[in-house]
Symmetry: C2
Subunit: 205 residues, 2 copies
């Protein structure tokens, strides 16, 4: 399998980076290939300009590469902190620019964009790992956990990905070393659940 991993956190010492590392380690151990993007490290330009909105727009090489990768991925892993019930702006911009018509979805002929799009992504599963400083009961009861709707309903269901899994690790600021270790083990387990070791990979030797 070929897995796309997208990380959005400004601090390279963050627990989000540790999650990405744990995910990559397990993906490699399970014998899969992967593309990894640390959006802050690569200074991803998150602003969708007007001229990129049409489905037939000419794309900068950087965006084209992202589109080709996500369009051909067998699995997608996204890692980000919960900032205001949403991803950081840099990741929102990745969605705005990369999850394009013709790449992630299309409209039926004659539809100007008001109808129900058809998902085009071929990935079998999308996994979201989030960190938060809001306890999960408050996230659900006070905020309504918008990240669940955003990623599952608005993005991946629409783009045709059949399996979705999201883990929210909280509370980060008061977590112990042991809690973090157990969360990283959870990351590995979720990866193996959706992208298991292939026959003949290092994991099954």
């Amino acid at each position: 399998m070929n897995i796309s991993i997208i990380l959005a956190h400004p601090d390279n010492q963050s627990f989000n980076h540790a999650i990405a590392k744990a995910a990559i380690t397990r993906i490699q151990k399970n014998g899969h290939r992967f593309n990894y993007h640390d959006l802050y490290a690569e200074k991803f330009d998150s602003l969708l300009p007007s001229h990129e909105i049409p489905a037939n727009a000419l794309l900068p090489r950087e965006i084209k590469t992202h589109c080709d990768e996500i369009g051909s991925a067998d699995g997608i892993v996204i890692i980000h902190p919960n900032w205001w019930g949403q991803p950081p702006a840099i990741l929102k911009g990745w969605v705005d620019r990369v999850m394009r018509p013709g790449v992630a979805y299309k409209f039926l002929e004659g539809d100007q964009g008001e109808g129900i799009p058809i998902g085009l992504l071929k990935a079998k599963a999308a996994i979201i790992f989030n960190t938060a400083n809001t306890p999960s009961i408050r996230e659900n009861e006070v905020f309504g956990d918008p990240l669940q709707r955003i990623w599952k309903n608005c993005v991946f269901d629409l783009c045709g990905i059949p399996a979705f899994h999201r883990e929210m690790f909280s509370v980060i600021v008061t977590s112990t070393y042991e809690m973090r270790l157990s969360w990283l083990r959870k990351v590995g387990n979720v990866i193996s659940q959706y992208f298991p070791a292939e026959r003949g990979s290092s994991c099954s030797r």
Copy 2:
């Protein structure tokens, strides 16, 4: 009153720009002062860097100005299209960088950030105008309308603003001239409902 108006749309011929113009016209007619930011036009840098996360961080002048304005506003008006159940990245970045601790909310002493923050904004009302190409029944039933939770629960309730109003104008791509005119009248009416004409303003002469 002093109203902050924030617009996020890349195309200056967009209906979002027409909404902003209608809002400003009514705000002026009602005798209020305002600050207006077309985030795309001013090339707002939407990436929250690591060193700006601490509450006592030194801020670039541009961000400091935005913080001062939003912290002293009596009313807030935000205009943006619905992109993936979320604002465009440039506006998400405005929230990430401007709605800061010490400006929009604070934690009680001894709280590392895991507790319930106290809202600091003094605005009496926040109004959101959205455009969409998704019919409202599909937005609610399939997507769960994340923008309502994002703006009301996650942002403005948390920051202490007592009144919230949101209008979603859809479907834009198939709308007629008459529909758009009626939507712009609605914009004016909503503005006057929350920020009515002051005694002695041009409106009451």
